[in-house]
């Protein structure tokens, strides 16, 4: 609910608005009983802050042009103007009418200064408001609110004068140029016209006042002599027809000087409809202005006073304490209820968990109690079994199992000249296998530079060592079998010997169990370099001339690396 206290210089109208609905309105006369009633109203009605809306003749407006500056400079300029024109005024208001360049190109700002120059008639009402501890939010001005009525005029009209009547005793004329508020004046209605049934004298009075305003505007060069002033008179619905006829007749029979003033009549109903407001029970627009005031934000007041602000602040603080303690308390109680409910849920969950623990413990007692020692050894037992499964599998990897495959090669008629003298069997770790491959590398620096050690099943035994070196990436135990013996090369050419040895090596490599064949010594060895270890593990570097190699060429020696069992 919004409480608007409307003061038009004499009596005070109190209205209570809830949105677009007028809840109540009370009028108080400036008499002892009126003051008493007003105080009683404030004290006994719902404690709610009030907005004061004033429409008094002692409100003065000035337009001032200042250089377009900002910040503290602007404030200093404004303070200086206020001090010059309204030094004694307690209530002042400043608003900008816009910025534009003058003829010299300087950018200026036009200000509207206003002040309540005499608040004596208002003082007893303010005292009562204060006495009743009614928080006063601020003071609003009817002339400054009248810009809300500008919507009744078409937008393309440059000079608009809106004439309204809020009380029986006066008219309010508000002038707008290019949609901006310029000034407003209150004109008294002569006593003899106030209760006159005939509307014509009142309308004539409007024309008289309008003429004065028109002359003022042209004399002040606010509008040009040839500019048209559009006057919008807001009248009660039942006066509209009469007024329209009157103004039409007037425009047909007036002197030439009034050609520049065009009169338009707007009814209260039209005004209310433009704001989607239901009809208000008043002959004047006072209630409508209180409605406009009730729709404004609370911090948009025109005249600010510290005492009012303090009252309102106190009101807001107390309101905050009231609502804060209430809402806070409710929130805390809600939180407490939720926490308690959650506690109950947690307790139920805990009880369920404890039952599960009991079941688990029972299961443990039945199945495992007393057997922990044996059960703890389960992994060791498993590892032991797996260890021996591995040993048993590897123990099948023995010379006796390889004899059959080897016999098939030696019994081949093509290799009848190879005689096996000695077979060496060695079970080796992957590290040993790698060592054998490393030993088999060439010592030729150029060859080392140009080739990596890589396995190759189709290695020619007569290639240089660098090209025949191999490696195994198996992680399991592998067996190296070294076959040595003599090759009977009688009545064979070197080429025949070489070809037979190549085929023999291929046959060895073709045995299913064989992973790699290294040629260690061969008949008619034409390789450039070799490096082996002797029986004591010392490196032996052989660099022999071809004739020497050929001379001692009956002996052969191959090392076979067998596949690991898994592969």
């Amino acid at each position: 609910m919004r409480r608007i206290l409307y003061f038009a210089g004499y009596r005070l109208l109190a209205t209570e608005w809830n949105g677009k609905q007028l809840l109540a309105s009370y009028r108080f006369e400036p008499t002892d009983s009126g003051f008493s009633d007003f105080l009683e109203y404030l004290e006994k009605s719902v404690k709610t802050p009030a907005q004061l809306l004033i429409d008094i003749i002692e409100e003065d407006f000035r337009r001032e042009v200042i250089p377009a500056v900002t910040g503290s400079d602007r404030k200093a300029l404004i303070d200086r103007r206020l001090d010059r024109f309204y030094r004694e005024a307690q209530y002042t208001h400043v608003e900008s009418l816009g910025k534009e360049r003058d003829k010299t190109g300087r950018r200026n700002e036009t200000l509207l200064l206003s002040a309540l120059t005499n608040i004596e008639p208002l003082t007893p009402w303010l005292d009562l408001i204060h006495q009743s501890n009614t928080p006063l939010i601020g003071i609003w001005s009817v002339p400054l609110l009248s810009r809300s009525l500008l919507s009744i005029a078409p937008k393309n009209q440059q000079n608009v004068l809106i004439v309204t009547r809020q009380v029986v005793s006066s008219l309010r004329e508000s002038f707008f140029r290019d949609g901006r508020f310029y000034f407003s004046r209150q004109a008294k209605i002569p006593l003899e016209l106030r209760d006159e049934q005939d509307l014509s004298p009142y309308l004539k009075n409007i024309i008289t006042e309008t003429e004065q305003t028109y002359r003022f505007l042209t004399n002040q060069r606010i509008m040009g002599f040839t500019d048209t002033l559009s006057v919008y008179c807001v009248l009660d619905d039942h006066d509209v027809q009469t007024a329209t006829t009157f103004f039409n007749t007037l425009q047909d029979h007036t002197p030439a000087s009034n050609d520049n003033v065009a009169y338009h009549v707007v009814s209260h109903s039209e005004l209310y409809q433009s704001h989607n407001l239901p009809n208000l029970e008043s002959d004047y627009t006072d209630l409508f202005y209180t409605y406009l005031c009730s729709r404004l934000p609370l911090n948009s007041d025109h005249y600010f006073a510290h005492t009012q602000s303090s009252d309102y602040t106190q009101y807001m603080v107390e309101k905050f304490i009231n609502w804060g303690t209430f809402i806070g308390g409710l929130g805390l109680l809600t939180a407490a209820a939720l926490l308690w409910l959650n506690s109950i849920e947690l307790d139920q969950e805990r009880l369920h968990g404890q039952e599960q623990i009991k079941l688990l413990q029972q299961s443990y007692t039945v199945s495992y109690e007393g057997k922990e020692q044996q059960l703890d050894r389960a992994e060791q037992i498993k590892s032991s079994v797996e260890f021996f499964e591995h040993i048993i599998a590897e123990s099948n990897h023995a010379p006796i199992d390889f004899f059959k495959s080897l016999s098939a090669v030696y019994s081949n008629l093509d290799f009848r000249d190879f005689w096996l003298e000695k077979l060496d069997w060695q079970a080796l770790t992957p590290m040993d296998i790698q060592r054998i491959a490393e030993e088999y590398k060439t010592i030729d620096p150029d060859a080392l530079k140009n080739s990596d050690i890589s396995g190759d099943d189709d290695i020619d035994p007569y290639d240089d060592y660098s090209e025949t070196a191999g490696s195994s990436d198996t992680a399991n135990i592998q067996v190296a079998v070294t076959l040595s013996g003599n090759f009977d090369q009688r009545s064979k050419s070197y080429t025949e010997v070489v070809n037979t040895v190549r085929r023999f090596k291929d046959a060895l490599a073709d045995i299913a169990e064989v992973n790699q064949v290294y040629t260690r010594k061969i008949p008619v060895d034409v390789r450039a370099y070799s490096m082996f270890k002797d029986q004591n593990g010392n490196n032996i570097t052989l660099s022999r001339k071809l004739s020497e190699l050929i001379k001692n060429s009956d002996y052969y020696e191959f090392t076979l690396i067998l596949n690991p069992l898994e592969s």
Partner: protein, 214 residues
């Protein structure tokens, strides 16, 4: 602000402030109750998880035993999981030599040692593996003798061996044609055993595993 606070009629707010304070006290009490319940539940959950983990661990252990225990007992009975039975090995060696009429077999059993990574082909960090090296030097008439000797030893001796290295060569004998020259072999065998002091207790755990409660 100071003035505003000073002007506030606090007596008008006694009800509201009292209501707020009582609500605050109730809320604190409720929070304390909730925190206690929450902590107790956490303890219960921890205890349950712990018991569940133990049950699952023993369930898995029981399943492992069900799978491996028979094998384990078999290995134990065959002398693999036991102290090295050297007497059995050499007894078998002599029997095999005699029954197959192998001309000469000599052996040398070396001192047993615990398997380690640097010297032995197999080792374990989980249990003690005992390696007993043995050298067998044999004169053989032909390859068949070698086959018979080592196959019989593998099948009958109480233990398992890996032939670490072995050299088989033809023996030069004057007057005997190359094709009929006898063989001699010199092999090093590693006998493997696991020393398990608790081996005799293992067969006690024969209960059937039941699924753990979850």
């Amino acid at each position: 602000m100071k003035t505003t606070l000073a002007r506030i009629q606090w007596k008008n707010h006694i009800m509201g402030i009292s209501f707020f304070l009582i609500a605050l006290a109730i809320c604190l009490l409720a929070y304390w109750s909730w925190a206690t319940s929450s902590e107790q539940l956490q303890q219960t959950n921890t205890q349950r998880a712990s018991q569940q983990a133990i049950n699952t661990q023993y369930f898995n252990a029981q399943q492992t035993l069900d799978t491996y225990l028979d094998h384990y007992d078999g290995l134990r009975q065959n002398g693999l999981i036991a102290k090295p039975n050297k007497l059995d090995w050499i007894e078998n060696l002599r029997t095999i030599t005699q029954s197959n009429a192998i001309p000469r077999v000599e052996f040398n059993v070396h001192k047993q040692h615990t398997a380690n990574m640097s010297n032995d082909l197999f080792f374990s960090d989980n249990f003690t593996v005992i390696v007993t090296p043995m050298n067998i030097t044999a004169d053989l008439l032909h390859e068949g003798d070698f086959f018979k000797l080592y196959t019989a030893l593998r099948n009958h001796a109480a233990g398992r061996y890996i032939i670490r290295n072995c050299t088989i060569r033809r023996v030069d004998k004057i007057g005997i044609p190359k094709e009929f020259r006898p063989l001699s072999s010199n092999c090093q065998l590693d006998w493997y055993n696991i020393d398990d002091p608790n081996a005799s207790e293992s067969s006690m755990a024969t209960a059937t595993a039941e699924a753990p409660l979850t």
